[in-house]
């Protein structure tokens, strides 16, 4: 649900954005400023437990997550809660969804919350990912109308990762297999978008901690594929994806004898650049794999449109892939 003009979005940054994904937080607020988006941070929110708490203890994990929902629901006039971190988004929406589906679970969770003087009615707020807000509320047209520094000639691989539209706890807003919202967003910035086949594949998640070789192989595939598609940068929307692809890029190079140098940027950083916000305000410089070289590629003028290759006379016609429609 798109909040009315006056209604701010509830905002749940999550632990990552506090520190390791500081650049995500910084760029989000800088961009929100320009777009006039009001994000109201949930007061005294706590960690969502990532994918760890659920592995240990189910009810406490649900209670932990729902404390945030309860706080968000009781604070100010907002009916939506925006999470920029995909894992937070997933956890929040999962608990909301399952509480609604399984009344017995809801009552147990609420019993636990009651111990802290809180309660949460499932469904009372809509949990949304930050990308969803940009794609469906702000819209491509509005963004492209505000672009002052188009990202001409920058080849961007849009990388969605796993959790953003999978599974569809909060309803489907993009394909879980082949989403295109971020693609269009990047196109709106003037960038050249790579049709990145692995766009929803896994970044390794917590496997870096459990079995580094397994994780490095997962990361390698993504880097390799982006490299094969000639991507200058990979645009991400999840702190975990950014961390794994950025921080472990050197480990991959070391382990596989490769030499990848692909900066991993938050999509909000790229939007910020195109809107003319200064790089420093957008958290540039915090990435391990420096973006300097890639960004230097940004052209001044709109490149000539590529000529569509005419199919040969023998070639057979082909069905066109369908896409989710955006609001």
């Amino acid at each position: 649900m798109k909040p009315s003009n006056e209604e701010p979005y509830g905002y749940y940054p999550g632990c990552s954005l506090e520190k390791n994904a500081l650049a995500y937080n910084e760029s989000t607020s800088a961009v929100a400023n320009v777009l006039g988006l009001k994000f109201e941070e949930v007061a005294d929110w706590n960690c969502c437990g990532a994918s760890e708490y659920l592995a240990l203890d189910i009810l406490p994990a649900y209670a932990l997550i729902s404390r945030n929902l309860a706080l968000a629901a009781s604070s100010s006039g907002s009916h939506s809660l925006v999470a920029p971190c995909s894992a937070c988004f997933l956890n929040l929406s999962k608990v909301d969804h399952q509480m609604a589906e399984v009344p017995a679970l809801a009552s147990q969770v609420n019993e636990a919350l009651a111990a802290g003087g809180l309660s949460y009615q499932p469904g009372s707020i809509t949990i949304r990912h930050l990308l969803d807000v940009f794609v469906n509320d702000v819209g491509f047209d509005r963004i492209s109308s505000l672009v002052t520094h188009p990202l001409y000639e920058l080849r961007v691989a849009p990388y969605y990762g796993c959790l953003i539209s999978r599974p569809d706890y909060e309803g489907v807003y993009d394909s879980p297999e082949y989403p295109t919202g971020l693609d269009h967003l990047m196109t709106a910035l003037g960038a050249e978008v790579v049709d990145f086949p692995l766009k929803t594949h896994c970044c390794g998640g917590h496997m870096t901690q459990i079995s580094e070789p397994v994780a490095l192989e997962l990361i390698r595939r993504l880097l390799q594929n982006a490299h094969e598609y000639d991507a200058d940068v990979i645009a991400t929307l999840c702190p975990m994806c950014q961390l794994n692809l950025d921080v472990y890029q050197e480990h991959v190079n070391h382990a596989f004898g490769t030499n990848y140098h692909i900066p991993i940027l938050y999509f909000t950083q790229l939007i910020g650049l195109a809107l003319g916000i200064r790089a420093k305000e957008l958290g540039f410089g915090r990435e391990f794999v420096s973006a300097k070289r890639a960004l230097a590629k940004i052209g001044k003028a709109r490149p000539a449109p590529k000529k569509k290759r005419k199919p040969s006379k023998e070639a057979l016609p082909m069905p066109q892939a369908t896409e989710v429609e955006y609001r």
Partner: protein, 681 residues
């Protein structure tokens, strides 16, 4: 109110009933205890259904002026008709008779004689109360118009039309596309015998086109259906062809000359082109082309008329002024054979259809194989030049999957095996089939599977996870990689191939819900038409006079579609032979003065018998459509719907009698206050 004169007849059925129920006591009790209730005579007899037994009842009806009869014997499913006829012969309306099942529901299932007799009394008492409220009814007879409408001219509709026409009855065959033939006309070889589809279909199509008893209306659609069995009035739109059928010779020059070329999504399954004026395929019946207005340059921009210019006929066969025709016909029966749509594999993005060039749908592959298809039967990649060296065939695409269709499409295993064989035979490529289960029932099907196994086709049991062009390892570059868990070894495998064929499932026609509404039949949750009985009446529907056949009823192959077409025809011929049909007068009826127009009932009738009169703001029930289930009767909160033979009053009277007698021993049978003393204070 006039007191009815009721006769009660208790049957011994030899010792079948008399062995467990004290029949003598029962008849004297009935004569005695139920006298107040209107019983003037009660008799017991050895075999009521014998002619002597029936005579007994008949003479009583005449001599004692009986107005109602209760026969306490066997199940009404056995002898209701017998005793109704007996009543009728004695001049009593047959619906004024009520049966009590003493044999099946008492004697045969109980052993204690006292309890059984007590229960028998209760049942007879209920029947006596009930029968007093029965009303005389007459069966509704409807004449059957001999002409039959067949909708859809795929193989199933063609078969149905031919059976009826060959039996000497008239058929109106309505087909939406420019030609008859349906999906079968698109296929190359047909399993399991690998007959050439065109070779076996074309002769049938030709017969349809020239049959004196078949009125073939292609490029036409049924717009409305009114009336009921025997007397349907159908409105058909015959779309303008813009080609005069009386002049056109079918030479095809116009099609060659037409400058507007587009991808043929229907017949060529998107793999080939056609012009704006077109005939879907060379053997089309009828042979005349149609102009597809939406893509015709003249119709869209006012200039062109190339077809007219080059048309060799005089007068010119191209007529841009033609208009749609609306026909109204009366038909007695309708057969719906509207077929299926292929599942759109683009809905499963991970299989890459529409994104990765060399992923083909099953129908595309049929066109590739077909000698009349865009590659003249050569199995080529999308570039139209190279031959695949390795092919992956994926089963169950969109079938057996709760995210799409949760049923088995029945044909795609066999069709995938056929594909494997054809690829092997024509290209020698390495073929791998990916399946969950191989389903090959019916005659010679599994033999076909075994034959394909012999051809060294590889089978991997595992539902494919994804098809990708993102190479991960050497050897994968430039290929399509099929990623799958080989469930027999429990390991993930990546198998690089040149070509992927998706055996997409069969779906109900996209408009099947609308069509079912139009014809007043129902669909299952997926959208296939619902048959009257899944085993014993698979081609009839709950709407009398409307039959279904072929894939419109559910996924099936050609042999089964043909069988159903023939079966539907046989059912129709049966009713035509009878000339008229007697409908049971057990019906619901709206009592106009009581109806408040609340429309609770509007949606309840599965046979669409209930309508709403907007003018008078009350509901109406079409007696010819009502099947007498009584659901609406119970639902109407105003009790504004009466149900003959099962009215609320009759049922309550029966209950009353039943319970009163059940408690007779307790002496509790007085008109009681609303609340007992115990409840009150």
């Amino acid at each position: 109110m006039k007191q009815e004169r009721i006769g009660v007849y208790v049957c011994h059925c030899g010792s079948n009933i008399a062995g467990t129920v004290d029949v003598g006591q029962l008849s004297s009790w009935a004569a005695d205890a139920l006298e107040k209730r209107g019983v003037v005579v009660a008799r017991d007899y050895k075999f009521m259904c014998s002619s002597l037994g029936q005579e007994l009842i008949k003479s009583d009806i005449v001599e004692l002026s009986l107005t109602r009869v209760v026969v306490a014997a066997c199940s009404p499913h056995l002898h209701e008709k017998t005793f109704r006829t007996a009543c009728q012969q004695a001049g009593l309306n047959p619906y004024l008779m009520e049966m009590v099942s003493l044999r099946e529901h008492v004697a045969w299932v109980h052993s204690d004689k006292a309890l059984a007799t007590q229960k028998a009394k209760a049942l007879i008492s209920g029947a006596v109360e009930r029968v007093a409220l029965h009303e005389p009814l007459d069966p509704i007879s409807v004449p059957i118009e001999a002409t039959t409408l067949v909708v859809g001219a795929g193989i199933s509709g063609i078969q149905a039309a031919l059976e009826i026409a060959d039996a000497g009855q008239k058929v109106v065959l309505v087909e939406r596309e420019p030609s008859i033939g349906g999906h079968m006309a698109q296929l190359d070889k047909t399993f399991p015998t690998l007959d050439c589809s065109a070779c076996i279909l074309t002769p049938k199509m030709v017969t349809v086109g020239s049959h004196p008893n078949i009125n073939l209306l292609t490029w036409s659609e049924v717009e409305a259906v009114d009336g009921f069995v025997g007397q349907f009035t159908v409105t058909i739109r015959k779309k303008a062809r813009y080609v005069r059928e009386d002049v056109c010779t079918g030479c095809g020059i116009c099609m060659e000359k037409c400058p507007s070329k587009l991808i043929d999504q229907v017949y060529e399954a998107g793999l080939g082109y056609r012009s704006a004026i077109y005939r879907p395929f060379p053997q089309a019946i009828p042979k005349y082309p149609v102009i597809d207005k939406a893509n015709c340059i003249y119709f869209q921009r006012g200039k062109c008329k190339a077809c007219q210019l080059f048309c060799p006929t005089t007068p010119n066969a191209i007529d841009f002024e033609q208009e749609d025709q609306i026909l109204q016909l009366t038909v007695g029966n309708i057969i719906l054979a509207t077929g299926y749509d292929l599942f759109d594999a683009r809905r499963i993005p991970q299989y890459g259809y529409g994104r990765l060039a060399n992923v083909f749908s099953s129908l595309e592959f049929e066109r590739l194989c077909n000698a009349a298809g865009p590659t003249e039967g050569k199995i080529l990649l999308r570039d139209g030049v190279s031959q695949p060296e390795s092919v992956g065939i994926i089963h169950c695409v969109g079938s057996r999957d709760r995210n799409y269709n949760n049923y088995c499409s029945a044909i795609c295993c066999m069709q995938s095996l056929k594909f494997a064989h054809l690829v092997k035979e024509r290209t020698g490529a390495k073929v791998t089939n990916f399946y969950i289960d191989i389903r090959t029932p019916y005659k010679d099907y599994d033999e076909f599977y075994q034959h394909v196994l012999q051809e060294k086709v590889e089978f991997v049991r595992g539902r494919v996870a994804e098809v990708t062009d993102a190479a991960r390892r050497p050897g994968e570059e430039g290929k399509l990689i099929i990623q799958v868990e080989d469930t027999f070894i429990g390991k993930q495998r990546r198998i690089p191939v040149d070509m992927v064929i998706l055996s997409a499932g069969i779906e109900p026609r996209h408009d099947s819900k609308e069509v079912s509404r139009k014809f007043g039949i129902s669909c299952n949750g997926s959208g296939f038409f619902t048959e009257l009985h899944p085993k014993l009446d698979p081609v009839a529907t709950m709407s009398k006079g409307i039959f279904i056949a072929g894939c419109a009823q559910g996924p099936k192959d050609i042999p089964a579609s043909v069988v159903q077409g023939a079966a539907a025809a046989a059912r129709v011929l049966g009713t035509i032979q009878q000339k008229s049909l007697d409908l049971e007068p057990v019906l619901a009826q709206v009592i106009d003065q009581k109806c408040s127009g609340c429309r609770i009932c509007s949606n309840l009738c599965p046979f669409n018998a209930i309508g709403f009169d907007l003018e008078r703001q009350i509901s109406t029930i079409n007696p010819a459509l009502c099947q007498g289930c009584g659901t609406c009767v119970s639902a109407c909160p105003s009790h504004a719907i009466s149900g003959t033979q099962f009215s609320t009053e009759q049922i309550l009277a029966q209950l009353h009698g039943l319970l009163a007698e059940s408690f007779n021993g307790n002496g509790a049978r007085t008109q009681s206050p609303a609340f007992s003393q115990a409840e009150l204070v």
